[in-house]
């Protein structure tokens, strides 16, 4: 990671204006977005958008031709190019031919992508952004911190001083007055400009129509007052039919700003008369800049389904801490990382892709149904292939790939940690490792791993066998969680077997882009787990469960190892998470809860993979309630705790404040105990509470339920 990048993160997380504004916004957004979608079937709507946008991505060339033909038939000039330099040249030529001295722009990401303003200004043309936020950052000489709210990082005091320094003295930090001032100043620019530049939100091929969405009304003025209108349209904006406008226009305002509809929508299908009666010159530039290439990439084609609503930014636990500036100049957040990798260069995404903690929040809200974390992982994989893995990482994974060596090192760690250990925690690590324990204590490696202790448990032999996949954390740090699981399944008359050959699930390697390592881990585990004749393979770690159930398959697919797929699928069919399995056993009458218990308040933290990949939010809650607990839901129960596997080691400066928020929410729930289904979350949250000397108990659901269940 570049030092400059680390510095930009440091600056962002220590900017209270930025984190305050983004934090409050993300909290309000979640509620207002849900309200805007009331009465709509979001799943059906986004399926329709994804389908229509995907169709367009598969027919880009054809739709671009059709758009050109239909728009030109009505008098629009259409210019299509792959080359950003040609876009700039075309606009400059139109400006020169018509003696343009001043241009007004409404928001266009495509123009920012090709650094159009600088180019035109260098040619002596005045270019004015008219979107208020864009104008403010243009005056301040900054870049947008959010795709929809470019100046969200600035306070009214800062805006006033920018106006005072750059426009006119005497402005006070009074928002309505600042807006009025901007209106007056920009009004003159609108009236004087000879050319207006806009983007477009949709370009309809069958009618040659541009659809432009705004709230301020600036696009209406930009397309009405100047005699020349140039629209820069990325090819991903093309859609086949005019009726395709409906789903996009239904979702975009709701997802972007939680509005039912934006104040203004303009649908322009050809030149209209100017105020002096002459016909307007209307130029549409269909800009490719690698979009065709993207649409032909089997993985990244789905990124063409983006409607640029920025909802992936608004729900991201990382974005709300760091804002847009750490992402670079143009596209920000999850989708921005992907767009930067394509429209700028793969290596330009090298640092920013590491910001994704893989929590999956964005996949729940994306109206284009884009698997943003999945695509970021694919970037990581391609980057690792292109430039190789960092040396230290390579060394670590070569150990992880050798199960016996890896496990004997973990055993040795138990001895080596002794001087650092306090009870079950390591509270301080020396030297360069100190960052890792600054904000949370780490669990000590257990004296005996689960693979040893499980042998000592006397189990009911025979009837039904279930294989237990422990995962490294339970095996070596928290064997007691595994013992609880065994105890519960034994009560249902099930024998739990522990296939010795099981090893790391490969998540650390996969999430670092080291797919070959992950594939080796997958093969070893498949061999170990399919060797036993069992009804289920259960895991008490959701990340491992997702690994076994989904990631093995996807890793093999990414590497083209199709031979390995049938056995990966065979394993996948048997895999189940702890709470879903126990809920099943209770529902089937094989386990029951002790009767009439009133166990008091408890709060539950949803682990990312359990909620968003395995969709198991209800089973643990139902089990806890049936046991006799009263669930006191914490605020943002399903927000990431900041662990993210190795993420918390790589980016502790981001992991720590995410955890901090989680701890506050846990405390505010008023419950004396917080329960979760993931040993990784336990490690993070327990470590955080330990650092704060909190008395709140942190447990895995299996531990909490072990004594409440009995045989039927």
């Amino acid at each position: 990671m570049e030092t400059k990048f680390r510095e930009s993160i440091d600056k962002a997380v220590h900017n209270p204006n930025l984190t305050g504004a983004l934090g409050r916004f993300s909290e309000a957004y979640r509620i207002s977005r849900a309200k805007a979608y009331e009465g709509y079937d979001f799943e059906a709507l986004r399926t329709q958008i994804a389908e229509r946008k995907s169709y367009a991505a598969s027919h880009l060339d054809e739709l671009a031709d059709l758009f050109t033909q239909n728009a030109e038939a009505r008098g629009t000039k259409v210019f299509r190019t792959n080359d950003p330099a040609k876009v700039r040249e075309y606009i400059l030529n139109v400006a020169r031919e018509n003696g343009v001295k001043s241009i007004v722009k409404s928001k266009s990401m495509a123009s920012e992508e090709i650094h159009l303003n600088q180019h035109l200004e260098a040619a002596g043309i005045e270019v004015g952004e008219t979107d208020l936020g864009e104008w403010i950052i243009q005056l301040a000489g900054q870049t947008p911190s959010h795709m929809v709210m470019p100046a969200i990082h600035m306070t009214k005091e800062e805006v006033a001083s920018v106006f005072n320094e750059q426009v006119e003295e005497g402005q006070t930090p009074d928002i309505p007055k600042l807006v009025k001032f901007a209106r007056g100043k920009l009004r003159t620019k609108f009236l004087d400009a000879e050319m207006g530049i806009t983007g477009a939100n949709i370009a309809v091929a069958e009618t040659g129509t541009l659809v432009i969405v705004t709230n301020e009304g600036n696009a209406r003025l930009v397309t009405t007052l100047p005699k020349i209108h140039v629209a820069i349209v990325g090819l991903e904006k093309l859609m086949e039919k005019f009726d395709d406008v409906v789903p996009v226009l239904t979702a975009l305002p709701k997802s972007a700003t939680a509005q039912l509809m934006t104040s203004y929508v303009s649908m322009i299908s050809g030149p209209v008369p100017n105020t002096d009666g002459t016909p307007k010159q209307l130029h549409v530039i269909l800009m490719d800049n690698r979009r065709t290439e993207m649409s032909q990439d089997p993985k990244f084609k789905q990124a063409m389904q983006c409607i640029r609503c920025a909802s992936c930014l608004n729900v991201c636990p990382v974005f709300r801490l760091v804002g847009g500036h750490v992402f670079g100049k143009i596209y920000t957040g999850g989708i921005g990382t992907i767009l930067t990798a394509w429209f700028d260069a793969l290596k330009a995404s090298d640092d920013i892709q590491s910001l994704c903690i893989q929590c999956g929040n964005c996949t729940e809200v994306c109206p284009g149904k884009i698997d943003i974390p999945g695509l970021i992982l694919e970037l990581r994989r391609r980057l690792a292939v292109e430039k190789g893995q960092p040396l230290a990482q390579k060394a670590i994974f070569s150990v992880v790939n050798n199960r016996k060596l890896f496990h004997s090192m973990l055993r040795a760690a138990y001895v080596m940690q002794k001087p650092l250990q306090k009870g079950n925690f390591i509270r301080h690590l020396p030297f360069f490792l100190s960052d890792m324990t600054e904000f949370r204590s780490l669990p000590a490696i257990a004296e005996a791993p689960l693979r040893d202790t499980i042998k000592k448990i006397k189990q009911p032999a025979g009837k039904e066998k279930i294989a237990f996949y422990a995962g490294c954390l339970i095996d070596f740090a928290y064997p007691e969680m595994g013992e609880s699981l065994v105890k519960i399944l034994n009560k249902a008359g099930i024998e739990v077997v522990f296939p010795e050959g099981q090893t790391c699930c490969g998540a650390p390697a996969r999430y670092s882009g080291a797919y070959e390592v992950a594939a080796q881990n997958a093969s070893d585990n498949i061999n170990a787990l399919l060797a036993e004749n069992v009804t289920y393979v259960v895991s008490a770690c959701p990340t491992c469960t997702v690994g076994l159930k989904h990631d093995f398959i996807s890793t093999f697919e990414s590497l083209g190892q199709t031979d390995s797929l049938p056995r990966a699928r065979q394993l996948s069919d048997k895999v189940i998470d702890f709470s879903s399995l126990v809920k099943k056993l209770v529902d089937d009458g094989r386990l029951k809860f002790k009767e009439g218990q009133q166990l008091g308040k408890i709060t539950y933290h949803d682990s990312c993979h359990l909620k968003r990949t395995l969709h198991a939010t209800q089973p643990p809650r139902q089990l806890l309630t049936e046991a006799g607990y009263e669930i006191a839901e914490m605020y943002e129960a399903d927000m990431c705790c900041g662990m993210g596997g190795t993420y918390s080691l790589k980016l502790p400066e981001i992991s720590a404040p995410i955890l901090e928020r989680k701890l506050v929410n846990i405390k505010n729930s008023g419950a004396p105990t917080v329960v979760m289904d993931c040993p990784g979350c336990v490690m993070q949250i327990r470590g955080g509470l330990d650092k704060q000397n909190s008395s709140i108990k942190v447990e895995h659901t299996a531990q909490r339920l072990a004594d409440e269940l009995e045989a039927s």
Partner: protein, 191 residues
């Protein structure tokens, strides 16, 4: 009819528009003239009103109306619109579930009076209310016109500290006047 109107009114008011409805055109005109009078429309600078020609005006004597209210002009151009305090136009369709007005805005005067003045008065026939976006897009299509405008509430921004602020580039007030379409010959005077 009333249910769909109520939905529209609820949605439009939720985005800070004002909604009125009159059974007769004459009453709508009366309301507008009173409004202009109260808004201080006169022939002084920055105090004018511009009214884009529209079917609503059929049957009314524009000269007579102008003479009642100096400052109100039916001759819409760039300069007059930029100077005007109020712009008036008739819109073609209204979408109930979002509180949106839709207009064939190919004629530039339609856009001048609804973008430049501080206040926009939007006339709309009550029978032009449709329930939702798909039904509106069945009525007005790009094949018919080069510029379709959708207007939902006044101009707004939240670009400074996310504080909702009305009236950044377009009108800061949108007054929607429904009329039920009964023609009346007599324009009302201004008191």
């Amino acid at each position: 009819m009333n249910a769909i109107f109520d939905t529209f009114k609820l949605r439009a008011e939720a985005v800070s528009a004002e909604v009125h409805r009159f059974p007769h055109k004459s009453e709508a005109l009366d309301f507008i003239l009173h409004y202009l009078h109260d808004a201080g429309i006169s022939d002084s600078p920055q105090a004018g009103a511009v009214w884009a020609s529209c079917p609503f005006l059929d049957g009314f004597d524009q000269k007579q109306i102008s003479s009642l209210l100096p400052g109100l002009s039916f001759d819409v151009n760039r300069e007059a619109s930029a100077e005007a305090k109020v712009g008036i136009s008739q819109l073609d369709w209204a979408i109930a579930n979002t509180g949106t007005l839709v207009q064939d805005a190919a004629r530039v005067d339609q856009r001048l009076v609804s973008t430049l003045p501080l206040i926009h008065i939007a006339l709309i026939r009550s029978d032009r209310l449709v329930p939702d976006l798909p039904s509106a897009l069945k009525q007005i299509r790009p094949e018919q016109t080069n510029y379709i405008s959708f207007i939902t509430g006044p101009s707004r921004t939240a670009d400074i500290e996310r504080v909702l602020t009305i009236g950044v580039h377009g009108p800061e007030k949108l007054i929607i006047v429904f009329f039920d379409g009964v023609v009346c010959d007599e324009p009302a005077g201004v008191n």
